[in-house]
């Protein structure tokens, strides 16, 4: 009697369904955790990259302050962070962070400050090896090499 309303097919469909459900949950949660990790990794890397760039700008600023007439400083930075391209906004002055580093997907942004006595030109460049130059007008400029 206990075998009534059951068939081999129902039994099969149910076990497949339950297994699929469990495995989907597993896959989705792994994916989500990887996405979280990726975001964290990008944030940490943007911070490091930003600080290296800030240090180079400060270094160029010191050289300009020491009487430099021609200052060109290359700073080797990765082109992609955790597989994502990024942008650097240089906008010194009050009301905005000195350096804003951003990726778009996932959207992560990190701001880094620097101290300078030579004016630094506002500019947006894409990530990768960058060059800090003392331009003809006496301002420091961040450019792609």
């Amino acid at each position: 009697m206990s075998d009534r309303a059951l068939s081999v097919t129902v039994n099969y469909v149910m076990s497949i369904g339950i297994a699929t459900l469990l495995l989907s949950v597993l896959i989705v949660s792994t994916g989500a955790s990887i996405e979280d990790r990726r975001e964290e990794a990008i944030r940490a890397e943007l911070e490091v990259v930003g600080q290296r760039l800030a240090a180079s700008i400060e270094s160029a600023d010191r050289l300009a302050g020491a009487g430099g007439e021609d200052v060109v400083l290359d700073v080797a930075l990765p082109e992609r962070l955790a597989g994502k391209a990024y942008e650097v906004q240089v906008s010194p002055g009050p009301g905005s962070p000195d350096l804003l580093l951003e990726t778009s997907d996932p959207a992560v942004s990190v701001s880094v400050g620097f101290t300078n006595s030579t004016p630094v030109e506002s500019k947006t460049v894409s990530g990768g090896t960058l060059r800090v130059v003392l331009a003809d007008d006496g301002d420091l400029e961040v450019r792609a090499p």
């Binding site: 497949i16 890397e45 490091v48 990259v49 240090a55 270094s59 050289l63 009487g67 955790a82």
Partner: protein, 316 residues
């Protein structure tokens, strides 16, 4: 029911997806490790070394210029030639040591400004001129003076402005800056009168032990900074001035100063000096006032060039 060998596809596919996910995770962690590694590296791409090299050049060539000035060469061309040769020797030595580290560090475009070194070396002689006159002028129409150091003892006269020795800068417009050295109860004291002062400020930067080494251009007394002593305080920048000693017979000691004669209108009152080195009288010899060089510093990541002026002991 399917064949026994066809079972467990779902688990297999899920396992595969998870495996790929973990590989992605590992790669992600790997880039984090790389970045952390980047973070722990030095961030300076050679900026400090470039400034260090420039300091080496300024210090080295400053020593060279002062050394050749001190050697009291007889002609301007001789002192120029010595400094030029010394600079290329210095450059070769330093450049070679930087090249070993893969850095091109170089000095070029040397240009020199002529000057005159005025000095008296006998510590027991009064500050009178060659012929014994107590009130006299050392140089006129001076724009730049450096390393003006007097080492004095045995002052007589206790009232600055009336009977004490003073060294004065007097501008064309009549502005006067004076430093008095006087005696008060047996001790040597210093008074300074800036252009705007009605009377001298007495007893600055004391107590002062004898012999007192007063660096007028750097503003130090016996090596200690003296805030009240600011060379030519009140004489407008760029204005030319005469350098005078007054009551030179009220003090004794030695002095050294270098004036820039490359500027038009500056001249040393030659009749007050011997023109060859003398152990007893004040004398003047050819000297280099300042040197200009271009400093280059080039590495794989950095290019730096600066024009540097070398004139040690100028007023700040």
């Amino acid at each position: 029911m399917a064949d026994v060998r066809d079972r467990a596809q779902l688990i297999l596919i899920t396992g595969l997806i998870l495996a790929v996910s973990f590989v992605v995770l590992t790669l992600l962690l790997n880039t984090v490790i790389y970045t952390e590694n980047l973070a722990s590296r030095g961030v300076d791409t050679g900026g400090s070394e470039a400034i260090e090299y420039q300091t080496v050049v300024v210090h080295g060539l400053g020593e060279l210029v002062d050394g050749e000035n001190d050697a009291e060469h007889q002609s301007q061309s001789e002192v120029r030639e010595r400094v030029e040769n010394g600079t290329s020797g210095f450059n070769e030595t330093v450049t070679a040591s930087y090249l070993e580290r893969g850095v091109v560090a170089d000095v070029s475009n040397l240009s020199l400004d002529d000057g005159r070194l005025l000095r008296q070396t006998d510590p027991s002689r009064a500050f009178t001129n060659r012929t014994g006159t107590a009130n006299w002028t050392l140089a006129t129409g001076v724009e730049d003076t450096r390393s003006f150091v007097v080492t004095v003892s045995n002052p007589s006269g206790s009232t600055p402005g009336t009977d004490a020795f003073n060294v004065s800068l007097v501008s064309l417009g009549g502005d006067r800056w004076s430093v008095y050295v006087y005696e008060d109860g047996g001790a040597l004291e210093l008074a300074v009168q800036n252009v705007s002062d009605g009377s001298p400020t007495l007893d600055v930067c004391g107590p002062i032990s004898e012999p007192a080494r007063i660096d007028l251009t750097r503003g130090t007394v016996n090596g200690e900074p003296c805030g009240a002593l600011v060379f030519g305080n009140g004489i407008s920048p760029g204005a030319v001035y005469d350098i005078e000693f007054r009551r030179g017979d009220h003090i004794q000691g030695t002095y050294n100063l270098t004036v820039n004669t490359a500027t038009a209108g500056t001249s040393v009152e030659s009749q007050n000096f011997e023109t060859v080195a003398s152990g007893t009288s004040p004398y003047e010899v050819p000297a280099i006032y300042s040197a200009h060089v271009d400093v280059h510093y080039v590495t794989a990541d950095l290019r730096y060039r600066a024009e540097v002026r070398i004139a040690r002991g100028e007023p700040p």
